[in-house]
């Protein structure tokens, strides 16, 4: 089973993303800040991380750099979750090693397609 780690300080956003992932045979874990994410990433070994950018303490970009620094978390695919006003962060996020990004409000098909692309999760019912 594919494991997704949601990293966000907003309970509302966590629940929104969790709902988008429902029914996909995915295991969802949650970290509420960057520091927790580093611990969870080593413990859970997620197949993909959904990373908020603006968080108190260690923000999403700093957490991305830290994940890419450590050997055991270096290869985990990371999708940044950004608001439309934070797009200027994305140039640095790609240079920092993120794999892709989605903008809020996150659209279900888009999120699943990006997860599928990075993890091999089957995408049923989508034939462009």
């Amino acid at each position: 089973m594919i494991t997704v780690l949601i990293v966000d300080d907003s309970e509302l956003q966590i629940e929104f993303e969790r709902a988008l992932l429902e029914g996909q045979n995915l295991k969802v874990s949650v970290a509420r800040n960057g520091e927790q994410c580093l611990v969870m990433a080593r413990k859970v070994r997620p197949d993909v991380i959904l990373m908020d950018i603006v968080m108190p303490g260690m923000d999403g970009i700093e957490t991305l750099h830290a994940l890419r620094h450590y050997e055991e978390t270096r290869d985990i695919p990371i999708i940044m979750v950004t608001s439309q006003t934070e797009l200027d962060y994305m140039e640095g996020a790609f240079v920092g090693g993120c794999n892709d990004y989605v903008t809020k409000p996150v659209v279900r098909t888009e999120l699943l397609a990006k997860i599928s692309s990075l993890t091999g999760l089957p995408m049923s019912g989508y034939q462009p």
């Binding site: 985990i76 797009l87 790609f94 920092g96 989605v102 903008t103 659209v107 397609a113 692309s117 091999g120």
Partner: protein, 169 residues
């Protein structure tokens, strides 16, 4: 028209800069410099060199949605169609339009060989749709394993690409 990985020249006076967000389709009659950042998404730039009118889109998914989910311009079909509509409405001539295509990267550290292959499919859609509309593609920077920052000038048709490579790789 040119594509360069070199630095973008300083902004001329009176030229506006605008960010192109995922799901946007934008065009301009007045001088404008558009900027966007792409991973697996694709941006198509259209330009009529006689009318000096251009536009750019930024779509996220290939094809068309099965059900309404956010803006239809997040999908390739509606996005490219809307881009053509906008530039023609501003005074461009459809048969004179030339295209530049960017994006569609697959940035996967685990080298996944199955799954949706979103970047690849987004590229296929751009090439197929532009061909169907009879629009010649005069340059492209597509696929690969790095994000891209794109700058496109709607009044000159010039475009610049910066590859955003993982500095840790």
């Amino acid at each position: 028209m040119m594509v360069s990985s070199l630095g973008v020249p300083p902004l001329e006076q009176g030229v506006e800069t605008r960010y192109v967000l995922p799901g946007d389709v934008v065009s301009a009659s007045a001088p404008c410099r558009f900027v966007t950042v792409l991973g697996s998404c694709v941006a198509v730039c259209l330009y009529d060199s006689i009318a000096k009118i251009g536009g750019i889109n930024h779509y996220l998914l290939p094809g068309a949605p099965l059900q309404q989910e956010g803006s239809p311009w997040r999908w390739s079909d509606a996005s490219i169609q809307e881009l053509m509509r906008q530039v023609v409405e501003r005074g461009a001539t459809a048969r004179r339009l030339k295209a530049k295509v960017f994006g569609g990267a697959q940035i996967s550290p685990r080298n996944v060989h199955c799954g949706f292959k979103i970047g690849e499919r987004n590229i296929e859609q751009a090439l197929a749709l532009l061909d169907r509309h009879g629009v010649e593609i005069i340059s492209r920077s597509i696929g690969g394993h790095a994000g891209r920052k794109i700058v496109f000038e709607s009044h000159t048709g010039n475009a610049w690409v910066k590859h955003l490579r993982d500095q840790n790789a």
